[in-house]
Symmetry: C2
Subunit: 261 residues, 2 copies
C-alpha cells in the first residue's frame, strides 16, 4: 500500500505545485556518430531525483517520445530521450523496419547506443544514480530489455509492447541482472507471439531475474500509440485502456523501485 501512496504522492505533488517544464533538444555523440536526443525536467524541483531514459520506437526519436518525456517531467521525473539512430535519421515505414533491424541484428551496437544516452542522463546534474529506470516502446522495449540483459546497473526497465526475444548466446545470465523488469504486452500482439512470450519467461526465470509481465486482453502491438490508428486487424493499434493501465503500472513500478531502502 505504501508504494501506491508514493506513486500518488509523486503524481499529485507535481500536478498541484507549479511546475516549470524545461525541454531541450540535445546533440551528443557516440564515437563518431552524431545523435540528437531530448531532455525534459521540472525546473522547480531542486536536487537530484529519479530519472528516466526513454528508448524510441522504430521511426526514431519523434514527437511521440517527446510527449512521453513531458508527461514524465510533469510527474516530477528528470528525463532523457535517447537517439539510437543518429541525428536526422527518422525513417518512416518501410525504411523504419530496416533501420530498426540493423540494431536488432547487432545488439552490442544497440546496447552501446542506448548506454550513450544513459550517460547523458546520468551526467546532467539532476540524476540520482540510485534511482534510474529505462523505458522503451516497441523496438525501444526490446532495447531496454537488452539493457537489462547487459547487466546495466539501473533500478529498472519497462518495456511497452516490446519484442521479448533474446539473441541466442546473449540471454540474461543468472545473478547478472540488477535491473528489475516490467513488460507490458498486448495479448493479441502478432509481432510478439506466444512462443516469444514463453521463451522470455523461461529466459528470465532461468536467470532468476526480478521480472513481471502484464498482459492486456484485446490489445495488439503499439497499443500506447495513437498514431497506430484503431484497426486491430493490422496487428498494431491504439488501445486507450491498455495505454492508461500500462502507464499507471509503470508509475506504480517506479514508486516501488525508487523507494528509499
Amino acid at each position: 500500500m505504501k508504494r501506491i501512496g508514493i506513486a500518488l504522492a509523486i503524481t499529485f505533488t507535481s500536478l498541484h505545485l507549479s511546475a516549470e517544464i524545461v525541454e531541450e533538444v540535445v546533440e551528443y555523440k557516440h564515437g563518431e556518430t552524431v545523435l540528437e536526443g531530448f531532455r525534459a525536467y521540472d525546473d522547480e524541483i531542486e536536487g537530484k531525483r529519479p530519472s528516466i531514459l526513454i528508448i524510441h520506437q522504430w521511426t526514431g526519436l519523434t514527437d511521440y517520445e517527446k510527449m512521453r518525456a513531458r508527461m514524465l517531467a510533469q510527474a516530477g521525473y528528470n528525463v532523457f530521450a535517447a537517439d539510437v539512430y543518429g541525428k536526422g535519421i527518422r525513417p518512416q515505414p518501410p525504411a523504419s523496419g530496416e533501420e530498426a533491424g540493423k540494431y536488432k541484428a547487432d545488439r552490442e551496437l544497440y546496447r552501446a547506443r542506448m548506454l550513450a544516452g544513459l550517460e547523458m542522463l546520468k551526467n546532467d546534474g539532476r540524476t540520482d544514480p540510485s534511482k534510474v529506470a529505462a523505458i522503451g516502446y516497441c523496438f525501444g522495449g526490446t532495447g531496454v530489455l537488452e539493457l537489462a540483459r547487459a547487466g546495466t546497473e539501473i533500478a529498472g526497465v519497462v518495456s511497452f509492447h516490446g519484442g521479448l526475444g533474446a539473441v541466442p548466446g546473449m540471454e540474461a545470465q543468472q545473478g547478472k541482472i540488477p535491473a528489475k523488469i516490467l513488460c507490458l504486452h498486448g495479448a493479441l500482439d502478432p509481432y510478439v507471439p506466444a512462443d516469444e512470450v514463453a521463451a522470455f519467461q523461461a529466459e528470465m526465470s532461468a536467470a532468476k531475474a526480478d521480472w513481471q509481465l502484464n498482459i492486456y486482453g484485446g490489445a495488439v502491438h503499439a497499443f500506447t500509440q495513437k498514431m497506430a490508428g484503431d484497426d486491430i486487424s493490422k496487428g498494431a493499434a491504439y488501445n486507450a485502456e491498455a495505454d492508461a493501465r500500462s502507464w499507471d503500472a509503470m508509475l506504480l513500478f517506479f514508486a516501488e523501485i525508487f523507494l528509499e531502502s
Copy 2:
C-alpha cells in the same frame, strides 16, 4: 495517472483519518445450508461505498481472509468474506482438496454459494451497488472467475493465484461478461500450468472480455499466503514481492473500475 491518484487518495485518507473498523461473524443461509461469513468495514465512513466480496482459499473462511478483510476495511472498503463450504466446515489438507473439488466439479453450486455471499454484501446498507468487486485466493480465485463467467453484474473480479480453467460448456460468452477481470499469477505455479494460462487467454479473448493477467516471475502458487511457507519446491510458497505487487495492482484496478463515470 488519475487512477493512481484515486488509489492513493483512498489509501492515504483511510490511513490518516481515524478509522473505526467494525468486524462481525455473520451467520446466513443458502437454501438449507447454514453458512458463516465475516464482514468488516470502517464505521467512521458514512453512506454507501465501494464494496468487496472475498472468496476463500481451499481450507474455507479462515483468519487469512479475515486479515485481508481488515486490510480492505482499513483502506475504506466495505467487505464481506463469504463462506462457500458451510458453518464449521474448515478442512485442512488433504480434506481441503476434496471439499474444494466438490465445488470445482459443480460450478453451478459454486456460483450459487458465492452469489449468496454477494447478496449479503449488497444488502448490508453500506454497499454502493455500482461499485462492487469480488476477489479470491486460489480456489477462491477460480471462484471469482466463475462469477465473471456467469455474467454477474459487478464491476470487477480479481483472482490471486486462482486456477484459470473453465469447465467445457461453461466458458465465458461474448458480450455476457460485464465484470472486468484481473488475474494475478505466479510464473512458476505448477497448479496453474502454461496450457491452462493459454486456454484462459484464448477463452477471454474469444469472449471479448475486459481482462488483464499479471505474471510474477519467481512466484509459485499461494504467493500471497505466509502460511504457505517458503519452500518453492512444494509448488506453493509465500513471495513477499509478488504479494505486495499484486495487492497494489488490485488497489489500482479498484481505483479504475470504481471511478465515477
